[in-house]
Amino acid sequence: MTLLGVLETTESDPIRHSRRGVTLLSGFLGSGKTTLLRSELDRAGDKAPAVILNDFSETLVDDVLLSVDGERPVVLSGGCVCCTRRDDLALALAGLLDDEQRGRTPRCDHVVIETSGLSDPGPIAFTIANDPVLKHHYVLARVCVTVDALTGLGSIERHEIALRQLLAADDVLVTKADLVSPESVEALVLRLHEFNPSATVSVTASGHLLRKELPSGVSPATQPLLRLLAHGADTSAISTLELSTDEPLDWQAFSVWLSLLLHRHGPDVLRVKAVLDVRDVGPVALNGVQHVVHRPEHLTGAVPPGSRIVLIVRDIDTELLERSFNAFLSIK
């Protein structure tokens, strides 16, 4: 069992299989990303992924900690990947390809990017998905986000960037669970499910998995999950909404609706994750982190009937949003 999924083959279709999977390892400052990655690299052994490391400070120690057989990871220092280092990230990923094609390194089917604790995963995902060269060689496989069992909840409630990281997660990894009581861990896991009902939540200690919980689904709450201080005395309200329909989905109506929602309210749509039963196509998965939506993917295997869409939004009236969804799908 791997925590970051670097040894798992999830790419069932040949188009995705030809590209290298990228795992973004995100999490607020000091939340245990490097400890987790070190354990993962130890476990992976010969199959260790390539690693790109970004640190906010100029002085680095993590690259030494993460050396595998003397091979240092590619390091981007002096700023967050999301704001000042997009070009560097693109160059680093292109450099890995170059090394591989020149025979300097063997092909790595997986790359882990450990982001700075102050990075927003959204723009990083955008860089990978939209760079004209990289998008043919890399595909974002998952966003893993570490949450410190001791201080994580406080960071999420006080720092918007920590919240953005959590909402972008496909897998949330609670770290340092051995340092708090089981009751505290339980309460934290419940709260994390409330924030991001589309993510799995794993509980870890010292880089080892203790237990893993599947996505919870949205609980029927009418109040916003959290009010963040925004400008002065103003607050911004984060809400989660699950939209569903049992009828096969009209893709054209849905895509027109979602694209207009993102066009008009994109900065306030923090997360979109959906399993859709598309008419004449069948089940597909759709995943979006902030304004970056990836192409839908066919799902194979058993999928429950109907369509389910989880949206995490800021300062948007969720009742009006649901009415809007139904109105667009009602277009004859």
């Binding site: 279709d13 188009i15 995705r16 939209n130 998008k135 009209d250 893709w251 054209q252 109506a253 895509s255 027109v256 609706w257 979602l258 694209s259 207009l260 929602l261 066009h263 008009r264 309210h265 196509v281 597909v284 759709l286 979006g288 939506v293 990836h294 192409r295 839908p296 993917e297 066919h298 948007i316 009236d317 009006l320 949003l321 009415r323 809007s324 109105a327 667009f328 009602s330 277009i331 004859k332």
Partner: protein, 103 residues
Amino acid sequence: MLCYEFAPEDHWSDGTLDGAVNELPVRPRYRRTHILCAVLAPYGLAVSDPGSGPHLVVADHRGAAEVAAGLPAIWQAADRLSSRQVDVLDPALLEDLMTGGRA
């Protein structure tokens, strides 16, 4: 493809990874145009399909028109051509859609 047509970027709304890119098959294309007409009509805009290439034409009632490829470009064109912002949460739009354009 005509000289004014730039190749549109890949967009998630064009379908699954292994599907046809850039140019939608006829039926989904007709359906998309029909839905865009319904959404933009309350803003005084019409959408038409020239029938070839990935582009649609967005026009107002005074004859001003823009060619747009892909949904993001269509919303940008609509913003420029309409005096009101097209909004997915606009109660007047939702009322119009729910009543089949009779609002």
